[in-house]
Amino acid sequence: MVSNELLDNYLPVALLTVIGIAFVAIALFMSRMIRPSNKTKVKLSTYECAEIPVGDARIHFNIQYYMIVIVFLIFDVEVLFLYPWAVQFKNLGPIGFIEMVVFIEILIIGLAYAWRKEALEWTQ
């Protein structure tokens, strides 16, 4: 007898993943049965507004994307830390509030630093 609250709760997640994947797979397969397949060299070339594609698309991207991701990583982890605090907020009382003020202050200082260092500027 399998009886486990966690398993019961996440059973729909697991089954929905499987059914979702199966749904997409069946849809693609059905369309494969029906659709025409008439490939030509021009049809298989990359779309570039009816021009012959120039070079490779996998270019070096703007450094700003990288900066945004770095700042995001820091903030995302810190936001995740706020959740357990928010859940336990009413049990923690004033001490919890003060500790979190310190934490959020550090977050704000971090944001201000990134801002000042122009990590958030899109156009340099």
């Binding site: 007898m1 399998v2 709760n9 059973l11 729909p12 997640v13 089954l15 929905l16 993943t17 979702g20 994947i21 749904f23 997409v24 797979a25 849809a27 693609l28 369309s31 494969r32 029906i34 659709r35 025409p36 008439n38 490939k39 298989l44 070339s45 990359t46 779309y47 570039e48 507004c49 490779d56 698309a57 996998r58 270019i59 703007n62 994307y65 945004i68 991701v69 700042v71 995001f72 903030f75 995302d76 936001v79 995740l80 706020l82 959740y83 928010a86 859940v87 907020f89 009413k90 009382g93 509030f97 979190m100 959020i104 704000i108 944001l111 801002w115 958030l120 500027e121 899109w122 156009t123």
Partner: protein
């Protein structure tokens, strides 16, 4: 106390006297758990049908509304007021040739539609459609929802990279920058609500919004947390990648963004995923800020039905708002978008969090 749709189904089956003999039958093979799996699969199939019908209706509604705003009729030919247009579109897409460009990465190109569609469905698991009408009341439902929604940039980046098309890759990168920038205000705005509720379960969040002030104003979090609501709504629309934040597609400059190279059924999966996501995100906004399924109880009608109706009405109100925005607002520039996210919304969300926690600590509210 019935917690989710599974227990509701079991209760109904027990009431008509079917459950015990069937359970006994499965027990004789030692496969009790299989019965649970079968019931959950039935729920999921119902959900899937509901989502697909909603997507079809939404795509019709979106085009129709776009038409009305521009003083045209929109689709009119297939069925009454073009209502069967989505079916015609679906049949057309099934029969379309599926083109994978010769220079594309075939495996990742095929994988990406799976990764966009499955998470769009997974968001529905902890979404309460009504009292007890929930697939599973996860204890960390809110974090689950935010985490699953954060999977969509992965799929977009895979699609953009695999296509080996300049427009696709540019659209994908913009989409990722935008999605991750707006995940933070989204999560921060939701924390302010968690402070009141003390739980991440979506059902607890809705239950905390039951009742009224002075018998008139419902105790929805939109009235206690108006700023958080506005931030959450803007961040949700940005996460969905809809106008005014639709850089991933921006058809005037990037053709169709990350799905430029997609055609046929794979394109249809993006389409399905996009509208399923629209419905799910609107449902989340309703659950957190607009009282979810709560509403006046009409006693002779079962609470499941009335609550489902309330939820659908509220969700469509949010969806219509998103569509209205798309029809009337121009697209912002990418630097304006990131400035809005990082320099206005995140500081405001942090400030809102500080003020809310201070007021709660001081027991003013």
């Amino acid at each position: 106390m019935i917690a989710n749709a599974y227990e509701l189904i079991v209760n109904i089956l027990t009431a008509i006297g079917i459950y015990e003999p069937v359970y006994g039958f499965f027990q004789s093979f030692g496969l009790e758990y299989l019965l649970r799996i079968i019931i959950v699969v039935v729920e999921i199939v119902v959900l899937l049908v509901f989502v697909l019908l909603s997507v079809m209706f939404l795509s019709w509604l979106e085009r129709k509304m776009f038409g009305w705003v521009q003083s045209r009729y929109g689709p009119m030919v297939t069925g009454p007021h073009g209502l069967f247009q989505p079916i015609a579109d679906g049949i057309k897409l099934v029969g379309k040739e599926d083109i994978i460009p010769a220079s594309a990465d075939r495996w990742i190109f095929t994988l990406a539609p799976f990764i966009i569609f499955v998470p769009a469905l997974l968001v529905f698991v902890p979404l309460p459609f009504g009292d007890t009408l929930i697939l599973s009341d996860l204890r960390m439902g809110l974090i689950y929802i935010i985490a699953i929604s954060a999977l969509s940039p992965v799929s977009i980046l895979l699609a953009g990279w695999a296509s080996n098309n300049k427009y696709s890759l540019m659209g994908a990168m913009r989409a990722v920058a935008q999605d991750i920038s707006y995940t933070i205000p989204l999560a921060l705005a939701a924390i302010a609500v968690v402070l009141y509720v003390g739980s991440l379960s979506t059902v607890d969040i809705v239950r905390a919004q039951e009742g009224t002030w002075f018998g008139i104003i419902p105790r929805w979090f939109i009235f206690m947390q108006p700023l958080a609501f506005i931030l959450f709504l803007i961040a949700s629309i940005a996460e969905m990648g809809r106008i005014p934040f639709d850089f991933q597609e921006s058809e005037q400059e990037l053709v169709a963004g990350f799905f430029t190279e997609y055609s046929g059924m794979k394109f249809a999966m993006y389409f399905l995923g996009e509208y399923a996501h629209l419905f799910a995100v609107s449902g989340v906004v309703v659950t957190i800020f607009l009282g979810g399924w709560t509403g006046p109880v009409l006693s002779p009608i079962p609470v499941q039905i009335t609550s489902l109706v309330y939820f659908i009405i509220k969700t469509y109100a949010v969806i219509l708002f998103a569509m209205w925005l798309r029809d009337t607002v121009p697209r912002v520039r990418i630097d304006q978008l990131l400035n809005l996210g990082w320099k206005i919304m995140i500081p405001l969300a942090l400030l809102n969090l500080l003020v809310t926690s201070f007021l709660l600590t001081a027991r003013v509210i």
